[in-house]
């Protein structure tokens, strides 16, 4: 998929989705690279102890999935400038996590071609896990 160009971007446009069916194969790898070894991400009993139904994936992995979706869209010469998100719901084992995005506006500022977006991850039930906002700069 070639990177999106500024001329192609339209308000309301949807970003191609990034999808992962997640379990401990994903979470354990993320724990290793982010040095994030926390019982609630490892042990169902500890997940239940904090009021959840089981162990759950890291919020920061949702952040990466949203960055991945944006990178796939803008290409290697684009750049993510700003990103903010909240952690609303948990990612449980075997959930299908879909990162989605919608263009809010595009504008040129300081010599850069910028796009503001609403982005979020949701599970197979359509429940939002990680609602977020992002600004990206396009190469052309």
């Amino acid at each position: 998929m070639p990177p999106v160009t500024y001329a192609e971007v339209k308000e309301g446009q949807e970003v191609p989705v990034f999808v992962r069916v997640t379990d401990f194969m994903h979470w354990n790898r993320y724990a290793a690279v982010n040095d994030e070894f926390v019982y609630i991400h490892m042990d169902d009993e500890m997940g239940r102890k904090v009021g959840q139904k089981a162990a759950f994936g890291m919020g920061n992995l949702q952040v990466s999935y949203l960055h991945n979706m944006l990178r796939d869209w803008i290409g290697d010469d684009g750049m993510i400038k700003k990103f903010s998100c909240q952690f609303r719901s948990m990612n449980f084992k075997n959930d299908t996590i879909t990162a989605k995005g919608k263009v809010l506006k595009k504008y040129e500022q300081g010599g850069e071609k910028l796009v503001d977006l609403d982005v979020w991850t949701e599970n197979q039930a359509g429940q939002q896990l990680c609602p977020a906002k992002a600004t990206v700069a396009l190469a052309r």
Binding site: R29, Y30, V33, V38, S64, H67, R71, I80, S84, F87
Partner: protein, 163 residues
């Protein structure tokens, strides 16, 4: 709510710390393998973009070499854990339970192999609210990262909710 909760979680010490800048961490030099492994983990099970592991390819991009994914964390695996690292879940007592209320990042210079990243921290904001989980304290921490050339790499704000 079965356990008694205090009228406030904001101690005088916490209040006095608002706005005070503290030195944070200094990373070990970021290795190309750290970047490759990060990329493999966050793109698992698919192959990550070449920009994060193939120097020959990366040279031809605007970055002129491998860079780290922007959400990359250079401060992992210290031999001694920083003391202020909160443990998610807490001890289960009111005020010790922690939720991550959200993060906000702005990115500047990319992180490259060999970079040494230094952080500074400050408590940017502190407030309380009554919510459905009882009294909740919001701690907004600001963490800024610079590289070895003094270039700003990332500014970040994180809200932790104590309840």
């Amino acid at each position: 709510m079965t356990q008694a909760q205090p009228a406030t979680y904001i101690t005088p010490e916490l209040k006095a710390d608002v706005g005070v800048e503290h030195p944070g961490q200094k990373s070990y030099p970021v290795a190309a393998s750290d970047i490759r492994r990060w990329a493999i983990a966050v793109y698992w099970p698919e192959k990550p973009p070449r920009l994060f592991w193939d120097e020959e390819y990366a040279k031809k991009t605007r970055w002129k070499g491998i860079i780290a994914p922007q959400e990359f964390n250079p401060f992992t695996w210290p031999p001694v854990r920083p003391a202020n690292r909160p443990s998610a879940g807490g001890s289960g007592k009111p005020g010790s339970r922690i939720l991550n209320g959200g993060v906000e990042y702005e990115y500047f210079a990319p992180i490259r192999p060999g970079d040494v990243i230094t952080s500074t921290n400050k408590l940017a904001d502190l407030f309380e609210r009554q919510g459905k989980m009882g009294l909740m304290m919001f701690k907004v921490s600001q963490t800024d990262w610079k590289n070895q050339r003094g270039e700003l790499v990332r500014t970040g704000r994180m809200t932790l909710i104590y309840y």
